[in-house]
Symmetry: none
Subunit: 200 residues, 4 copies
């Protein structure tokens, strides 16, 4: 007796499915996965509890869709910047812009970032998805850097390091807010460091 998940064809239904995902996205960000109950998702989406299970197999399935949105939102802006950037951009400018983009992403979803990452430990599917995302970004970024003239060895390893540095900075600058840290000064150090990472 298989459970059939509605495949929304009508625009109205698509809207509804997306409203549910959006509501879950917000609530997971605010209260975590375990701190969010399905009926609240439904309520915020403006639908009944029942219909949630018309669109999703279970609560975890909703999480999975949220994860996909998160990944899309995370990856897209950086990728777009990479593809749009001129080949003779300076490394300083390149990283400065990437940090800006990354920060704006973090602004809206840094909570979710950690929540999803911590779930990745318990859930193999989520972990897979993150690994895949990282690979995608790393490979693309490495290729693009190469086109831009970065010819250093072990480009992928360096991209990984760079990604981490950028994300950590973006994260810190938004959240941690240690009062003894000057985040603007720190940003300059970060950029200088990144340049030295890829420079000769």
């Amino acid at each position: 007796m298989e459970k059939s998940i509605r495949q929304p064809k009508q625009q109205r239904s698509i809207d509804k499915k997306e409203r549910i995902i959006k509501a879950a996205y917000e609530l997971f960000s605010e209260n975590g996965y375990h701190g969010t109950v399905t009926s609240d998702i439904a309520k915020r989406a403006g639908v009944s509890t029942g219909i949630v299970y018309g669109y999703f197999a279970d609560k975890r399935d909703i999480l999975f869709y949220v994860l996909k949105i998160y990944i899309r939102e995370t990856a897209t802006p950086v990728m777009e910047y990479f593809t749009s950037v001129s080949k003779d951009v300076s490394l300083e400018e390149l990283f400065d812009n990437i940090i800006t983009v990354t920060q704006s992403i973090h602004q809206k979803s840094a909570n979710l970032h950690n929540i999803l990452h911590s779930l990745a430990f318990v859930n193999e599917d989520i972990n897979e998805e993150f690994l895949h995302l990282e690979k995608h970004i790393t490979v693309s970024a490495a290729q693009r850097l190469n086109e831009i003239g970065v010819t250093t060895e072990r480009l992928e390893e360096k991209v990984h390091i760079a990604m981490n540095i950028i994300q950590d900075y973006a994260h810190e600058a938004i959240y941690d807010r240690h009062d003894y840290i000057d985040y603007d000064a720190m940003r300059k150090d970060v950029i200088k460091l990144l340049v030295s990472l890829f420079g000769k």
Copy 2:
């Protein structure tokens, strides 16, 4: 109706409290906070379910103690290394050793690391604790680096950056295991980068 949490004076009681914390530490690492039920903590600690609430206000309180242990275990080895290291150590050697130490820490508690960090979003107390830890390490490390002869400006900002790089590397090297990444080569890049961060 005041709820009095036992302040264990007897050694037996101290042992018991610590056994509970240890059991929780392990189970939270293995299954996450929400994947761990209190009775299992009690069982692993070899005590009754009820007595857990003699030593802790509630489940979250246990988490808090686990966090403290985690922080102690995380901070101590690095701090110890710093205080024991000779003043004329090279930056390469210094960072190489710190990475080694950090990796051995992550080896046993990387799961918990993320679990705790994701809970920090929902729980202000936990967040405070992490901020405090970071400050402590940053300040101490900066001071020690200064003694060693690192005289660069904005030392604390740089220490922050360095901490992040080291932790990310340790984390990646243990978990992510992308097959297209050579983690030993990456390590060399990381060290070089750290040296360039603090070097002139």
Copy 3:
């Protein structure tokens, strides 16, 4: 706010109502009443969920119609045999044939038989229907046996007993399949017993 159940006049509608009953019949047989969900009935009938409630008051109402079909299918073949059988048939042959007929009925609806009977306990209407069916068969059979020359006293009581024996045998022979029972030999015993029940 009267809920009006459609009285289908159009042939198309009659078909549809019957398709629903048929689908329910099949699904109740396969999965029981509680194991069948209305939307599956609709799906198998090739109609929408909603229209089911155009033809039936509620799920129980469908069951009631299924019951009627079941009763018709159960009673008809035996009754037909009785009316068609020659007056000078031997009791052996008579019962042998009735067993054959009963078995072919059970073949297709023995599951439903039990499912309906167990629901009869909870639902008075269903119980009534069964009592009525039994009465109908008993009276008709008794009369026919009389015509055939069976003149024993308390014919109706004996018919009841006979009905039970035949149904149990048919049921056992199809389902129970104890490996220590020889069902063909058993059948001979049953027939002999039935003959002795009505014989002098």
Copy 4:
């Protein structure tokens, strides 16, 4: 993370487990399995909903225990009668007594009988249990009849037939209550028939 079902050692606990089974027994009899909700079982047993799942894996597990009680209650009195009866009892008396015993059993659990039997169609475990019960009774009864001097062939087949006749009679006499049937007269016919089944 296995779910541990309490194995009650204390008498108090045993009482409680049995109270739950008893409550379920009654409620299943009254309203069927699907018509009974777990919280009602708890309520009637005078316990909390939660503790029910301390003693039973799930609702179906309770059913299984009820089934075992039912089977014990059903089998025991007949078996006891068989073992206690004198070897030179007449078949008339033997069957008369068995009918009496069977009737008293049905008096209290005829509803449950059908409810369980209908669940047996959907649940293989329950079906197994019933087959096993039938085999047990059949074999024991056949053996005992043999000791009493019944030497007819195919004894087990005949015992099966007899069991069915007796149970149907007991059931009818209690429930059906067709007004055109004289159940006392019917009883005499049943006994005569049973005697003729085993007699020479």
